[in-house]
Chain length 319, copies 4
């Protein structure tokens, strides 16, 4: 399972993994177990207040489950780490979640804090480009000082497809590589390196231009396949159909059709096509990492969602 780094959210897409998808209250949750647990929650439109509440509930439950799977007890002290760069909107999920965490550790130090709260601290280590310090060094030194029983790390992820941007939450207990989407050889944060459970929670907020090009070609195949099968329907009414994406979801072209439509490009596997597009864009230095222009309006809501679920699941005896 080495090849899956949380920084790119490829996990649940792998057809070879025995993922199990359950739908609670309209929201689908996919669970993969492979040398660790991977949970993917598909968010409904969270600008809607009711959807927000539903998503928060599911996330809260999944956090509680993964804490239990890692033998973390209700009284165990934890630290929340917000990875990423506060100044870069698409990379600011971690710090924005930290801003909203209900911290209690200092109250435990002052007096015996109330029984129904857990001892929690929260911290944003910044990024190496701004601090000059390896992020994992900052975290390691802090952990060795305050000795929590577990870590929850929050981060923005690079998306493996357009349609996942700002639309899913991933949770894993296999660790996280701060900055691995951008720079190589960052040290991993995991139970192996830190000696305590590390739960990572991430939301894909950025995507590379190569992925956008790949997705466009894939949608083109599906679109043409659907058109071919519905040749007698007016093109306009096809496209105007609600949920057209769901309709064409399982449509495929066979290799001969793909060859006719897209030549040699059509005969490449998805992995090879991705390698080609990436090579092309990297070589002209235009494989831009981009984010949806709606990010300015969505990132605060995503942070609110993650922070509320964390506050409720960590201090759950409160209410």
């Amino acid at each position: 399972m080495k090849k899956y780094k949380l920084r790119t959210d490829l996990i649940a897409d792998d057809p070879n993994l025995n993922g199990k998808t359950i739908t609670y209250n309209d929201i689908s949750v996919t669970i993969v177990n492979n040398h660790g647990n991977y949970i993917t929650i598909k968010l409904n439109d969270i600008t809607n207040h009711n959807n927000m509440k539903k998503c928060q509930n599911i996330l809260e439950k999944e956090i509680q489950k993964i804490l239990k799977l890692n033998n973390i007890n209700d009284k165990d002290e934890g630290i929340i780490i917000g990875l990423g760069n506060r100044k870069s909107t698409a990379d600011s999920l971690g710090p924005l979640v930290i801003d909203r965490i209900l911290v209690t550790r200092h109250l435990f130090k002052i007096s015996s804090a109330s029984n129904n709260k857990r001892c929690i601290s929260a911290f944003s280590p910044g990024v190496m480009g701004n601090t000059g310090i390896e992020t994992s060094d900052i975290i390691e030194s802090l952990i060795s000082k305050i000795k929590p029983k577990f870590i929850i790390a929050i981060d923005s992820l690079a998306s493996s497809s357009i349609e996942r941007i700002n639309k899913i939450i991933q949770i894993t207990d296999t660790g996280i590589h701060p900055g691995s989407g951008v720079l190589n050889n960052r040290k991993e944060l995991s139970r192996k390196t830190l000696g305590i459970p590390v739960i990572a929670i991430g939301i894909p907020t950025v995507v590379s231009s190569a992925v956008i090009a790949i997705d466009t070609i894939n949608y083109m195949y599906k679109h043409i396949s659907y058109m071919k099968d519905n040749i007698h329907t007016s093109k306009l009414s096809i496209i105007k159909t609600e949920n057209y994406k769901d309709k064409i979801k399982h449509k495929e072209l066979n290799i001969n059709e793909r060859n006719r439509i897209a030549g040699l490009l059509g005969t490449l596997s998805e992995n090879d096509r991705y390698s080609l597009f990436r090579e092309v864009l990297d070589s002209v230095n235009e494989n831009l990492i981009v984010t949806s222009t709606e990010i300015d309006f969505v990132i605060e809501k995503l942070a609110e969602l993650v922070a509320s679920a964390l506050n409720n699941s960590l201090h759950r005896q409160i209410s």
Copy 2:
């Protein structure tokens, strides 16, 4: 010239237009005259202080030229309008420029202001989604009240290619359509509708996913064409070459080669390919408008560049 709207910066790309490109001090300026003036300045990396100064100088001179071409005198009162949404980073160029404009109109009202300053006001009308008011209505009513002699409107643009994002400035005296990139039928701001010269200054900061896919395919053709011509050179050394983009700039595949490599897709004209990709992405509701993740760090510098050039060219007798 109706088809060119400043909101998408297609103008200077049109091979049918007799554009003239001049290079001053490393910075290329392309001028097209077609029922109005269109100027495109190609920015060098403006995070470098020296480049910033050079670009500012060129922009300052081009603003002065277009003011003269529109018979605007040194003493004529002007208003700077910052279009776009302050809350959306990629769309905030206009309001951020307004924040940096040296306004003097209120000083002229209080006393006879100093001789070496022009009477200038500055205003950000917001966006219709937030005000409920057509942006052009706000501007028209204000113009009819304060009666300036000319308008300079600043806006973020949608880019016609990946490589232009945050990299060029366009100036025109043919008017601007606030919000035309997103909603249709916005009323145009121009000499025709307002009765006074309207100079528009824009920088492309966003791009559609369809354009990214088109650009990827185009770069692929050029890349393959170059590889074919340099078949005996090691692939790795090709790609690692500095300025690879410039090297492949004029490389093309003929239609047979394109057909072999990209099938039917390869035989489409660029316009038809764009229409196809746009249709595909629109039909699945994934034609995301995206922006580079570096926007958070670049937009302030771009605003600084435009505002400094405006302040210097409008109040140029100051120093």
Copy 3:
């Protein structure tokens, strides 16, 4: 009633005005009627969610009442104007409220909007120092273009005492003077100048140093008066008492006592003392306008409070 300008919230303090105070659900509302209506709502700690809800409810009802008193019907189109400077935290209440207003006017223009919403637009005109344009000119020109039936103007106010900062909301239908706290001779926004009802809603967020000095002397008198009457109680237990402010509220020193304690200063009326302190601080250019350092955390909540109450009372048929 000319001397009361909403920009300083002196209204309900005047002992000569026949104010009536009613307490609903722990929250006191004072109503003064004197050539117009003045309503002062005393906020409980709004960082507490329940208090926030209570305050919002009261504010909602008072807005509905004053709309009715001004003969504004449920279907009448209105515009919300957010006065003040977005870049100055303590002066940003108006623009922050505008950001949260549910605007509908553009929907009415596109189609027949739903029956249960009112036609509302919202606008932040900025401040003259940044635009070069008299704020009242911007508003007047806009009003004459879009012709609403009434205006609601939101503004940050200068406080007449320390204890009112961020703690009360004032509503009046007598108009407002944008910027009157800082510059003189701003044109007034009122039914008289604009021809339609102008409801002003303000919250004091800043205070002058002279007012702080005055309040300190006043509290000293009350404190000494209370101490004198409780001479046998230990000083420490007096001060540690909860609600000490309420306890000393009606304590006063007579003129002889004040003379002994504060000399000639003690014999001055409150107005004369204010004039003296203002003269002293103005003459050394140190009559700083200050704001509580908690403003960064409170201003968003205050904006949320006003905007929610406005949205509910203006579109009240929604639910």
Copy 4:
């Protein structure tokens, strides 16, 4: 010297300290040596570009001097710590300086960095209310991990007078107490606790209401004293005088005059008056910590000033 904590900038005011004031290029620098070095630089209006440059130059030189006094060599690795709360404008000086520091430590780790730069890292630990962790614990653990040779800590300070707010910079090598202005018993950051030199740089940005009241009374005495001595001059022309503050600077009333004017209050020492006002305001819970409303416009410039001086003095071999 125990009683002087950098968090309140009382140092150079103490008449018992043998401070030496030198004026370079219009800018006065006061140096006190008492169990450590205390330097106070009086800033001229830094919104003026030339003054900004002058202040930056002086600050740069004073930083170099204090580094030398602490035996810090040109090649010694250092860390800059930005104390305070990024979300509270008046308390954000530290984090804003960190955002502008030229960090190089990560480059030293990757390759042998260029000879003319020093190894520098930079870090904002946040505040205990948000992290749940004692700030000094975060710093101690980081120091023990990365082992720098010296620390420079930046912080916002509480001012000892109105006229110093945003107007002076203080430097000391005696250490700093993060948060000591607000909470008690914060652990001190100093050579004694950390084992390496700790240079603290602070700017007073906030002031208590009690201090404002004290200053008002003091200015009143000086004003009355001056008026008395200039009884034949018209009052209006006195107050309108430029630099009135300088004129009355050394004016005092004797104890009889103070008694007549301010009664018993007038006979108190300044310390006793401060204790009284503080007791009064604390007991009614109104000893607000306030900041000038201009802070939103000034804090970025102050951060720019400190960061530029630091970058130049730490990497001074660059140019």
